[in-house]
Subunit: 212 residues, 2 copies
């Protein structure tokens, strides 16, 4: 009896380091599967269909939306991105856990469609620390940084919609916290109804087992 | 900011080994506190008031019931036993986690009074294994064993009322599973509202921190 896998949704404000955490989590846990997004944008050099993304045409993508084949989707600068339900379910049924890294808005859409997932919100140790990280990344103008921090601050209001809060003070520590969460979730009663059923149905002979 | 402690209620069918697990859990985690029961029965030789039990008179016990001072109570062969709420709350407020070992009926009463606790149901690997254990214990007649197994089987129907199911195949493994559960529970969103509030309220200067 293989226990069904768990969908672990890792989200958090921009700049909080969720991407780094997910990469490290997947690297150190080879049995974890990464949820691959479908997208209508063209592949970049080196990107492989079915590995980095599922590259699809716009018509095909719209059909997936209409058929409820996506756990969430969004349009960004004219391109569509989404999380195919089938890939996730296939992995879970095979007993693999799946990691989905996604922004706050996307995570809440996934939760609406898949409440049995585990929703983890990664937060910085402080907003000053977050400002520091975004600044050091060196990719954003002061105006954009200010906007990102404003968004981060307001996104924190959504933290109560998640199951767990993980502070990213150190990447290794944050990864370990998520590993602990995944292990503990395996023991949740609602994930062990088959175990209880089989215990309940097991023939009990009411006398010492033969080895006794 | 000290995070409030967690009440961990360890329950399970008779003979499942929850007592051994709790002793080992407390032995290897000195910061865990054991929830001390109040009882009206007389101390046995070597039992210390405030350590093994809180020994109380019947009138005092009834006053505790009337005043809602017990998380649960039961009468067994003319003696009263109960879990004083005050002791548990004091430990939790001081940041200590508290372990309460209790039968299924008691656990469900505690849950009614303290839903924010963590409810762990310990089960045997199989009912045959449970029969074997009870038999080896050598304290029960075949009739009593049969009755215990019947009770165990029907108690399994209550497993879905618990948060977690832990199989006691090996004591050390079962203890480690409960330790993992306790650690993960510290990251639950509902236990970290203060953290999110303080992050949200923290002054963000919107520019690199001075150390940046």
């Amino acid at each position: 009896m293989t226990q069904q896998g768990i969908l672990i949704v890792i989200s958090g404000p921009s700049g909080t380091g969720k991407g780094t955490i997910c990469r490290e989590l997947l690297r150190s846990n080879p049995r974890l599967k990464y949820s691959i997004s479908a997208t209508t944008r063209l592949p970049r050099v080196g990107e492989v269909d079915g590995v980095n993304y599922l590259f699809t045409g716009k018509e095909q993508f719209k059909t997936m939306i209409d058929n409820g084949e996506l756990l969430e989707w969004a349009e960004v600068y004219g391109n569509f991105y989404g999380t195919p339900r089938r890939y996730v379910l296939d992995q879970l049924h095979s007993g693999f856990d799946v990691v989905l890294e996604i922004d706050t808005q996307g995570a809440m859409k996934v939760k609406d469609n898949f409440s049995q997932g585990v929703y983890v919100y990664v937060v910085p140790p402080s907003l000053d620390e977050l400002a520091d990280r975004i600044y050091k990344r060196g990719t954003d103008s002061p105006e954009v940084i200010k906007n990102r921090l404003h968004c981060a601050s307001s996104e924190l209001k959504l933290a109560h919609n998640y199951h767990y809060i993980v502070v990213n003070d150190q990447v290794a520590a944050a990864v370990q916290r998520i590993e602990t969460i995944i292990t503990a979730e395996k023991y949740r009663a609602e994930r062990n109804t088959d175990l209880i059923d089989s215990l309940y149905r097991s023939k009990c002979i009411g006398k010492p087992a033969s080895k006794g």
